[in-house]
């Protein structure tokens, strides 16, 4: 049985009762956004968008050896409505692109995106008519992970980077959200379609950086 002193504080034992008494009259002051961010950061719900071999490494990241549960992001859900972190892992073909965009749009905000592997990031070696040359042509990306495929450690590092970003979030009233960005990619089908920007404002040095293509013609002197 616990101890209920009638002031709304409930303690399991005598020691906790004393600790709670110390708190009485004391106030913890913190911005609400800080508390919200800490809660969000340690409870990411990834949406696995596995398209090819990268997905195998993504599974390895969640499994026991690398154990994403250490970062509170192990609960993968296969419905976008229960997720806030989309991990696009693999070659995004042009035919798959509408599905990817749609699933991203169905995720509730705030939401983050990891582009895993070079195919997802730039099209990779598939410099061809059938492959989207980087998913940032259709959805905004927060963290790019190089590698073919990246090792699970690299993906864990990307999740940690996402967590750092989550800590930067500012909770702003819904009506004061920044205007939605517009599609900046090169697929004519999405021209002029507003791409949902982040649900909450992020203060980064360059707000455009997430949309900048990582690969350009002649980038490697070719």
């Amino acid at each position: 049985m616990g101890i209920d002193s009638g002031d709304g504080l409930f303690a399991a034992d005598e020691q906790t009762r004393k600790d709670l008494d110390l708190l009485k009259g004391g106030i913890i002051i913190s911005p609400l956004s800080k508390i919200v961010d800490i809660a969000r950061k340690n409870s990411l719900w990834p949406m696995p968008f596995g398209l090819s071999c990268c997905a195998i490494e993504m599974m390895a990241m969640v499994a026991s050896r690398y154990d994403l549960a250490r970062f509170g992001a192990e609960a993968m859900r296969f419905t976008p409505r229960q997720c806030d972190l989309m991990i696009v892992a693999g070659t995004l073909t042009r035919k798959m692109a509408p599905a990817c965009k749609r699933i991203y749009d169905q995720m509730p905000e705030p939401k983050w995106v990891i582009a895993m592997g070079v195919c997802t990031t730039t099209g990779g070696m598939f410099n061809a008519y059938s492959v989207v040359q980087g998913i940032d042509h259709i959805i905004p990306v927060d963290v790019y992970v190089p590698g073919c495929p990246p090792r699970p450690e690299a993906l864990i590092y990307a999740v940690m980077k996402i967590q750092e970003q989550v800590l930067q979030e500012k909770v702003v009233p819904w009506a004061k959200r920044p205007p939605h960005g517009h599609y900046r990619g090169r697929d004519p089908r999405y021209a002029g379609i507003p791409v949902a920007d982040r649900g909450v404002q992020v203060e980064t040095g360059d707000p455009e950086s997430r949309h900048r293509p990582t690969w350009r013609k002649g980038f490697f002197g070719g």
């Binding site: 042009r94 035919k95 410099n127 008519y129 090169r186």
Partner: protein, 161 residues
């Protein structure tokens, strides 16, 4: 095989333009207009009951496109290739989907990637690429990359630096 070709010549006069033997494989070069009759007698009279593949080859210098049929007899295990030559401007050939049912999807693939129209085909539409795709990407004039390539490769708006 010689006898078989002799019988085919008899049942389909003028259909076979040339017979090519190479590496133990036999290829009949067929007249495009009569290729279907040739293929039908292959199936009905000679027992080539399995159509392995329909593909095509683009020869831009010659201005022609080869439609290649590979047929096999599961009984005698003979394999025969039939090649029909069509012009690469507006290539068109009669469908064989009513001879072998499997030709339906094979011909759709050829249409999708190479742009050969199969007249009389029940449902000639793209099978692999998205429906709104422009062009036929495995034709030789389709650019590997550049401005005419799928617009993926067009420079983005903010690609000035």
């Amino acid at each position: 095989m010689e006898e078989l070709i002799g019988r085919l010549r008899k049942s389909n006069p003028d259909a076979i333009l040339e017979v090519v033997y190479y590496q133990g494989e036999t290829t009949l070069v067929a007249e495009a207009g009569k290729a279907k009759g040739l293929l039908r007698s292959l199936k009905d009279d000679e027992g080539f009951d399995y159509l392995v593949d329909v593909s095509s080859v683009h020869w831009p210098e010659e201005g022609r496109m080869d439609v290649v049929y590979v047929a096999r007899s599961l009984k005698t295990r003979d394999q025969l290739r039939v090649r029909a030559e069509v012009p690469d401007e507006n290539p068109e050939i009669e469908t064989v989907s009513d001879v072998w049912r499997t030709a339906d999807w094979l011909e759709r693939e050829v249409y999708d990637l190479m742009g050969v129209r199969f007249t009389g085909h029940p449902d000639l539409k793209r099978i692999m690429l998205p429906e709104d795709f422009e062009g036929h990407p495995l034709r030789k004039e389709y650019p590997m990359e550049g401005d005419d390539e799928w617009r993926n490769f067009l420079p983005a708006e903010n690609e000035n630096d």
